[in-house]
Each structure stands twice: as structure tokens, then as C-alpha cells.
């Protein structure tokens, strides 16, 4: 089995990939659930279309950031044709590293703002 790449090699994550990982941080979700959560996280600033969503999921599956889940939260309430996704350990490390990177960027911006440069 090949060793997964260190998360730093995957940075910077694109905004859709970052927000999809955040949507999967708490629980497994299906495509539309991810789409709704990303809209909530960003105050509707980032609305993923079906092509963007599944294009990103395809690449994230290939990179090992997410995986498909066989379990259904409640089969009685759910359409069994839906595919659920969950975050892998690599995905968790990558989203942490990206959050850290963004925090550093925000800190740098705040310093410049406070100094009146911006």
C-alpha cells in the first residue's frame, strides 16, 4: 500500500474542497447535504453546483481526503440510492493544516490593518 502524501503537499486547498471537508467534519453526508452545509457555513456566499460538487468529490476520493460510506444514518428516512461520504484521517489533517494556514494569513492581514498599511 502506498503511503499517503503529507497534508502540507495538498495545500492550499481550494475553497470548495475546504468547505466540503468542513461539512464532513461532524458527520457523514450525501451530496445535497454537503451542498446545504457549505451554503450555511459561508452565508450563501459559496453555492456549489452539481458539477463542482461531484468534480471536487471525485478528486478528493482520488487524493484520499474522503471516502464513500456504506452506512445509512436512517434507511427508513432516506433514499437508498444516495451516496454518503465521510472524511478520512488524511482529510482531517489536511483541513486542520489549511485552517492553520488561513489563520496565519488572517493574522498577517490584521497586523497590516492595525498598522494602517491597508
Amino acid at each position: 500500500m502506498t503511503k499517503p502524501p503529507p497534508p502540507r503537499q495538498l495545500l492550499p486547498l481550494t475553497p470548495p474542497v475546504f468547505h466540503i471537508l468542513l461539512a464532513l467534519a461532524g458527520e457523514e453526508r450525501h451530496g445535497y447535504g454537503i451542498m446545504q452545509d457549505v451554503a450555511r457555513q459561508t452565508g450563501d456566499a459559496l453555492q456549489l453546483g452539481p458539477g463542482t460538487l461531484y468534480g471536487c468529490l471525485k478528486r478528493m476520493l482520488a487524493a484520499g481526503l474522503v471516502e464513500e460510506s456504506d452506512e445509512r444514518p436512517d434507511p427508513a428516512l432516506d433514499d437508498e440510492r444516495r451516496r454518503y461520504y465521510r472524511m478520512t484521517a488524511l482529510g482531517k489533517r489536511a483541513v486542520r493544516a489549511e485552517a492553520q494556514r488561513l489563520t496565519s494569513a488572517v493574522m498577517a492581514a490584521k497586523t497590516k490593518l492595525a498598522g494602517g498599511i491597508l
Binding site: 451530496g31 445535497y32 451542498m35 453546483g49 452539481p50 461531484y54 468534480g55 444516495r82
Partner: protein
């Protein structure tokens, strides 16, 4: 039941069928893997937008979907093209030859055509067995748009002109 929900669900069905057709622009592998899930997400999102938003938001949604479709079809087609080395040879072979044949037919019927000189009637300038490419554009009838785009001009002294073989031989001089 009021007529409104019926017409709305009818419209939703039409949109979904239209979106199913649009999915054919994606590469076949991508469509087979994610097409059904994309249709499902599209249907869910349409339902939500129809229920919760006004006409302007619906228009923005339609524009957003169109740009998403266009951008991601280009992206996935490019990704499929670059990873084509891993695909079976036969499919690539057929596509390659079909494209080559298509380009050849387009070029030879509209742009240039290859000829071999059959007789010595232009001896001194063109000899028997010479190969030449005949420009089919310059003397053609310019259309309203083509006149600005393509290099049309009148026949000038010194030009070598190839004639089409006449359908009625009696029209030859």
C-alpha cells in the same frame, strides 16, 4: 389538488429531463459514476429554490447552474483528455481517425484541394505530374460575414486558375 403544484412538478420534471441531456456533455466515465447523484442533487436544489425564492433568485440560480455546467464540463473533459493514455486503445484509435477524416473532408471541400497536373497544356509553368494545392477560398463568393474574415479577392492577371470539370461538356470554350 390545486393546479399550481401540478404545473410546478411538471416543470420540475422537464428541467430534470433537460439536465439529464446536459449531462451528456461530461465524459462518459464521469457521467456513469456521478450522473445519477448529480440529477438527484439538481432535483433537490430545484425543489428548494422553487419553494423558497422569488423570480430574481430563480434567474440567478439558472445562471449559476449554467456557468457551473459549462465550467465543469470543460474541466472534466480536459481531465479525461489528459488521462486518455490509460483508456483502451481501440476507442482512442477510432476517435483519432474519425477526427482526422472530419478535418480532411472539411479542408478538402472548403479550403484547399490537392491536384496532380494531368497534361502538358501549361508546359513551362506547370509540368505533367506536378503536385499542387488549389486555394478554394480566395475566388469564392464572399458572404456578408466571410467578406470581413477571409481573404477574398477578384481574379488578377498572372493567377493560375483551376476550373471544375463542367457538367455539360458543350459549355467549354
Amino acid at each position: 389538488m390545486t393546479p399550481q403544484p401540478v404545473s410546478r412538478s411538471g416543470m420540475l420534471g422537464s428541467f430534470c429531463r433537460f439536465y439529464s441531456v446536459l449531462l451528456y456533455a461530461y465524459p462518459r466515465d464521469f457521467r456513469q459514476q456521478y450522473g445519477a447523484a448529480m440529477r438527484q442533487v439538481f432535483r433537490d436544489r430545484c425543489r428548494e429554490v422553487a419553494r423558497t425564492t422569488g423570480p430574481m433568485a430563480k434567474l440567478r440560480f439558472a445562471i449559476h447552474l449554467t456557468t457551473d455546467w459549462f465550467a465543469t464540463t470543460v474541466r472534466e473533459q480536459a481531465a479525461a483528455f489528459w488521462s486518455a493514455g490509460r483508456k483502451p486503445v481501440s476507442r482512442g484509435f477510432v476517435t483519432e481517425w474519425a477526427v482526422t477524416l472530419g478535418i480532411y473532408l472539411f479542408v478538402s471541400t472548403t479550403l484547399v484541394q490537392a491536384y496532380v497536373i494531368p497534361t502538358g497544356s501549361r508546359e513551362g509553368t506547370l509540368r505533367v505530374g506536378d503536385h499542387m494545392l488549389v486555394d478554394r477560398v480566395t475566388y469564392a463568393q464572399p458572404g456578408p460575414l466571410g467578406a470581413h474574415l477571409l481573404p477574398y479577392r477578384e481574379i488578377a492577371r498572372g493567377d493560375i486558375v483551376a476550373f471544375l470539370y463542367p457538367e455539360d461538356i458543350r459549355t467549354t470554350v
